[in-house]
């Protein structure tokens, strides 16, 4: 119990440190943290699908793209303020996730993986080819307005920091609750043994779709934030490599573990920035580090652990 308290205290201290970091970091490092925050959102959303439900999804950038393009289109065409577009981005990406997952959800592991890769590529190609004339082709959509909150215009990295990490905090809060609930347990069972889960009365097909829906919706909202930060989005930001990167973060950080996923984001997105000094050998070190980390922490840095229930005795008959 004491152990858990220390752990909690450590998390809170780290969160506080992060919250005040823009006060002493320069704009560059704050922007690195912003990047980490956006990827943390993406990784947390993929974690619902890949880590919790155990569905191999290597095309997550597709949902990210749907959200980003929805927000960008609404903002540039109809002048919808970019933060108002946030829920719409989430809903459209979530719907897209369900429609997409519906016919392929019965596929096993690696077959699902290549299908999601394929979907990611199809989306990217569709964006490049200016599908329905709304995506702007290879140029993408530019001139997206900066977000405004209570009349305050967010433009500097420090300001984006609080927008992005505020959203990360809300996400962590909600997802942690989701984990410790009927919904979260159903996903756990699904990952552990789909046949036993169905045999225990869990509607596995429905939960697979729901996992895709939640994960896609959150990736879509991350896409909206991304669009508002970059003010320009183009297809190359949603490449296969992005999907791979998010996938790596989840597995390397610890599939199913929220703290692990965030730590993984810091390592995968933050570490290459530290390697900048190595110039062209940067990615070489990155690849090497990835292998070594995986070999020494084979289940990820912070693996998923069964939930500890407190005060069980009180409930005993």
């Amino acid at each position: 119990m004491i152990d858990a308290k220390y752990k909690m205290g450590g998390f809170i201290a780290l969160a506080m440190l992060l919250a005040v970091s823009p006060l002493f970091l320069n704009a560059y490092w704050v922007d690195v943290l912003n990047s980490v925050g956006l990827y943390a959102l993406l990784a947390l959303s993929l974690n619902v699908i890949l880590g919790d439900a155990g569905l191999y999804n290597m095309g997550h950038a597709a949902f990210f793209a749907v959200g980003a393009y929805t927000a960008a289109y609404l903002n540039t065409q109809f002048g919808v303020p970019i933060l108002w577009a946030l829920p719409i981005s989430g809903i459209s990406a979530g719907l897209f996730g369900v429609v997409l997952a519906r016919p392929v959800i019965h596929l096993r592991g690696d077959y699902l993986l290549i299908v999601t890769v394929g979907v990611g590529e199809i989306i990217r190609i569709a964006l490049i080819n200016n599908v329905f004339g709304v995506t702007g082709g290879p140029n993408g959509i530019f001139g997206i307005a900066r977000p405004e909150l209570f009349g305050f215009r967010i433009r500097r990295p420090q300001e984006f920091f609080y927008l992005i990490w505020g959203f990360v905090a809300v996400t962590v809060f909600l997802f942690a609750r989701l984990k410790n609930s009927r919904f979260g347990r159903a996903l756990d069972c699904l990952r552990e043994d789909p046949v036993a889960a169905e045999g225990s009365g869990i509607n596995t097909g429905r939960y697979q779709l729901l996992a895709f829906m939640v994960g896609a919706a959150w990736a879509g909202m991350a896409g909206c934030l991304y669009a508002s930060k970059m003010t320009i989005i183009s297809p190359e930001s949603f490449s296969f490599w992005e999907s791979v990167l998010i996938f790596i973060i989840v597995i390397l950080g610890g599939a199913g573990n929220i703290a692990g996923v965030i730590l993984g984001t810091f390592l995968i997105i933050g570490l290459p920035e530290l390697f900048r000094g190595f110039a062209s050998a940067r990615m070489w070190f990155f690849g090497l580090a990835m292998m070594i980390m995986m070999i020494f922490r084979t289940e990820g840095i912070l693996p998923h652990r069964p939930r500890i229930f407190k005060n069980l005795d009180r409930l005993l008959p």
Partner: protein
């Protein structure tokens, strides 16, 4: 009609290369259930090694084009096979008992590592194969033109695939590989040295990938350090299309994927070619969830 046949041969040529690389994916997957994402980069390594050996040893000048190329292919195959085995030792063996996706991430790391190793050694520039090794002749058959190099690619890849097929079906080692692919634990109980099987798979798969790299170098004349990603993804797609773990499936999948791409480009749209290929893949998987030649596995309850 002429155009159709021309496109068919175009597609088959591309498909042969996909198939050769797909074999490496499928063999490794069959035994280890691991998607070896570094396989595409082993293929790149083959292309670069081929170039280095070709220019430094001048084999084709000394031994004549055919013998020289044969020796070259053997050397490339050997080197890349060794690298593959080393990779297995260093990056995959420590992860054999851990969750499957951990090994996938290690493989992705290995891919980045290999790709950048090649870049650091050879530089980022595009490298070009010498152009005078093979004669530039094209055969005309009923309006369909087939360059000689393409015939070479056909013949070599079909020979290699045939040899592999016979090896897997007819030899003791091949039987051991098939047994380990079906059930590793049972194979071990039957006295099969599974470690040895894995080693052999990691020699043959990358070896074939290396030769594919050499063929691409000879055929297209141009190599760069990122080419493994494009070919790797396509070949992996081909392996899944055919039914991953299934050796004839990889061959069929590769050829079909090549043909779909060519025909998709020809009759629908060039820009949407890859999207069409993936769409066909998805539709095939919806209808046959384990690929064209993959065995249907029922849920055992």
């Amino acid at each position: 009609m002429e155009e159709f046949f021309q496109q068919l041969t175009n597609g088959l040529a591309v498909g042969c290369i996909y198939a050769l690389i797909a074999l490496g994916y499928t063999m490794v997957y069959g035994v280890l259930k691991l998607i070896n994402f570094a396989h595409g980069d082993l293929f790149t390594l083959g292309a670069y090694l081929g170039l280095t050996l070709l220019t430094s040893l001048g084999l084709s000048g000394r031994l004549g084009p055919l013998l020289g190329l044969l020796l070259l292919a053997v050397l490339v195959m050997g080197f890349v096979a060794l690298t593959g085995a080393l990779l297995e030792r260093a990056a995959y063996r420590p992860l054999r008992q851990s969750p499957r996706l951990s090994a996938v991430v290690s493989a992705l790391g290995a891919s980045i590592f290999l790709q950048n190793t090649i870049m650091l050694i050879y530089g980022a520039r595009i490298h070009v194969y010498p152009q005078d090794i093979l004669p530039k002749v094209a055969l005309e058959i009923g309006g369909v033109s087939i360059p000689l190099v393409r015939i070479l690619v056909f013949v070599v890849s079909l020979l290699l695939m045939g040899a592999l097929f016979l090896f897997i079906q007819r030899t003791r080692l091949g039987t051991a590989i098939r047994a380990a692919a079906i059930d590793q634990a049972a194979a071990r109980l039957m006295g099969i040295n599974v470690d040895q099987v894995i080693l052999i798979v990691f020699l043959i798969g990358p070896g074939l990938g290396g030769v594919a790299g050499l063929l691409v170098g000879l055929y297209y004349g141009q190599v760069n350090f990122t080419m493994g990603w494009v070919y790797g993804l396509k070949a992996f797609t081909a392996a899944i299309l055919g039914g991953i773990g299934n050796i004839p499936g990889a061959m069929v999948g590769g050829l079909i994927l090549g043909v779909i791409e060519a025909l998709g480009a020809a009759y629908i749209s060039v820009a949407w070619k890859d999207a069409i290929a993936f769409l066909v893949l998805i539709v095939i998987l919806i209808v046959r969830p384990t690929g064209i030649l993959g065995e249907r596995v029922a849920d055992k309850v």
